[in-house]
């Protein structure tokens, strides 16, 4: 395979693209600066995964998606995420990078909740977007891919929950890549203001088993002082998509951020989930599950950095590998000087179902403070034959016994996915990938 390292999209293209969309000048400038950086910066540094031959440059950047008028227009793949006729009134469906359906309950609107396409928000909520977009969370200049992200952004959602507002029902976004070649340069910006509460769930769906494409996703989540954010995701890109997904949390004083990520892509994937616990007494649970199959290669990083005193970070990653799939699971707990009385715990476990699969768990603790607690557990192994024996001794077939053990192994994350239909869909995706 021939691999280009330079993009087929230059600054002239970017300028025209931005003009066609009537973007504010500040954002056009951001794009152009990012385009320069994208040329200069190196690819993300991965210790143990070679990405030299991955496709990062072959894709179609500009596509469009028609408005969705009726539930019946949606393919089964999307419908299962929504349940019956979509009972959810806080929902955005992004189709080929365009918001094709959007609804927000009157009640939330009246309370000042903002939930819309990120490009619209750049004009209508300029101050907020400008303040948070690739500033304190993910920087444009972290690596080539974050710079490309800003330069070529073609999709995104902005969610803002005002001070003290507690959103009870989950807010859902489905990103549906209907065009098999469509690249997704997608940004999710979620700001939960002081003492607010929100549950957000996103799904990525594509239909490109054969066509090559790229997903470059950055999520920035801000849980301001006292806020509680629960963030669930199921990534389900098909084999043709190479994914770079970077989810970043910034957590204030007494605030909580809970991640539950179902990393179910079928293509090569780099997934980075970093949370900075800035405030005193801040808390993060970073939970992720993944299944690797075929020849796919994946590199997962879950990292929590403690800045605030008495901050608590818990990482849990469980992965199942079959066929010739290979995955690296990096777990990093970092306690900065001054973050006394903090606690950093992590658990990474990999279950291998075949001889040809590979899984590596790399637990890392970096501690610059004395008065802290920390711990890690990591394991890579096969399904325990004695467990299978126990289950089979009750009449359960070997295959069903294995199924139970695998679902059980992945359940600590699956059960945390906030929307039941999405949880069920994740179970089915797991079922489909494992068998």
């Amino acid at each position: 395979m021939k691999v280009d390292t330079q993009l087929p999209y230059d600054k002239e293209y970017i300028t025209q693209y931005s003009e066609r969309r009537n973007e504010p000048q500040w954002f056009r400038d951001t794009r152009l600066k990012a385009a320069d950086l994208a040329d200069e910066l190196p690819m993300p540094k991965l210790e143990k995964t070679r990405i030299r031959n991955w496709n990062f440059t072959n894709f179609k950047h500009e596509v469009s998606g028609a408005q969705i008028e009726k539930y019946e227009e949606l393919p089964e793949k999307v419908r299962v995420l929504l349940g019956e006729k979509s009972a959810n009134d806080n929902l955005i469906i992004v189709r080929n990078n365009d918001v094709a359906y959007a609804s927000l309950s009157k009640e939330l609107e009246e309370q000042g909740v903002i939930f819309k396409d990120i490009f619209t928000a750049m004009s209508e909520n300029e101050d907020l977007v400008k303040k948070y977009f690739m500033q304190e969370g993910v920087s444009v200049d972290e690596n080539k891919l974050t710079a490309r992200h800003a330069a070529l952004l073609n999709s995104g959602v902005f969610l803002y929950v005002p001070k003290n507002v507690k959103v009870e029902k989950p807010i859902q976004v489905v990103f549906w890549q209907e065009d098999p070649e469509a690249a997704l340069f997608n940004h999710v910006l979620l700001v939960a203001d002081q003492l607010s509460e929100v549950t957000y769930v996103e799904n990525y769906v594509s239909q490109n088993e054969n066509e090559e494409s790229v997903a470059n996703i950055v999520s920035e989540v801000f849980a301001l002082d006292g806020a509680k954010v629960s963030y669930g995701a199921v990534d389900n890109f098909e084999k043709g998509t190479t994914t770079y997904v970077n989810r970043r949390g910034t957590v204030g004083r007494d605030a909580t951020l809970e991640w539950a990520l179902g990393q179910m892509n079928d293509g090569n994937t780099i997934s980075e989930n970093i949370t900075n616990l800035m405030g005193e007494n801040s808390l993060c649970h970073a939970k992720a599950v993944s299944v690797g199959r075929g020849d796919q290669k994946q590199d997962f990083t879950a990292k929590i950095v403690h800045f605030g005193k008495e901050s608590e970070g818990y990482i849990l990653q469980h992965g199942v590998m079959k066929d010739n799939a290979a995955s690296i699971f990096n777990g990093v707990g970092k306690i900065e000087h001054g973050a006394s009385k903090s606690n950093a715990e992590q658990e990474s476990r990999v279950l291998m179902l075949s001889q040809g699969s590979r899984g590596d768990a790399n637990p890392i603790l970096l501690i610059d403070e004395d008065d802290v607690t920390a711990g890690h557990a990591a394991s890579v192994g096969r399904v325990d034959p004695v467990q299978l024996y126990y289950l089979m001794s009750r009449g359960i077939s070997k295959q069903e016994a294995e199924r139970l053990v695998i679902h059980g192994f992945l359940s600590p994350v699956v059960k945390e996915i906030p929307i039941e239909t999405v949880q069920n869909q994740l179970r089915e995706v797991i079922e489909g990938k494992v068998y």
Binding site: Q387, Y390, L391, S393, R394, G395, I396, G408
Partner: protein, 261 residues
Amino acid sequence: MAGSTLEIKDLHVEIEGQEILKGVNLTIKGGEFHAVMGPNGTGKSTLASAIMGHPKYEITKGTVLLDGEDVLEMEVDERAQAGLFLAMQYPSEISGVTNSDFLRSSINARREEGDEIPLMQFIKEMDSTMDYLEIDKNMAQRYLNEGFSGGEKKRNEILQLMMLKPAIAILDEIDSGLDIDALKVVSKGINKMRNDEFGCLIITHYQRLLDYITPDKVHVMMQGRVVKSGGPELAQRLEAEGYDWIKEELGIEDETVGQNA
């Protein structure tokens, strides 16, 4: 017809190349309760595990038949389907699988597809059996054996026994680690199973369980063999006098399987 028959003939079993069972003969019929007794390390769990098909144990000689069918040719799940049950000395812990999902899968594994046990019926049966065994209701939703106390694990094995209603059950040290109240409850469960159809092999190295469950036959294992068999009076003599008299009678110095008589 009085239930099933389990015949163990000249059974030899190795673990990691070491012979543990050296020719065990035993026949259990529906309606009968047998006790296998013996000090630690005499091969009792090996016998139970070999019959059920534990992956670590290799059968080098002998046969096990259930109603004439060759058990040793069957996969573990087929042995269960055929009517065998083993309450294990050390049940596995399985994270993420609830006790109730596990039990329902086990019951449904015995039924035809499309004829699964109705959920309400299952819940009712499980509830009433748990009540009978004085098991805390939240155990249904806890993960299978995970974090269970020793006593909870044993009760949970009996819960499975009562729900699955096998033809022949082997209970391996079901009494170990139980206080007297728990022992009574577990015995009550086992006694409830007693009928003309149901055969049971109770493995224990204490006699105290047999104060609550009266066996029809008692066998003593030493050095990987059944060295003595008798009626309930044998268990009583063992309680009163211990095992030394048997060793003397048979000229055994070390009763564990490492030694040869």
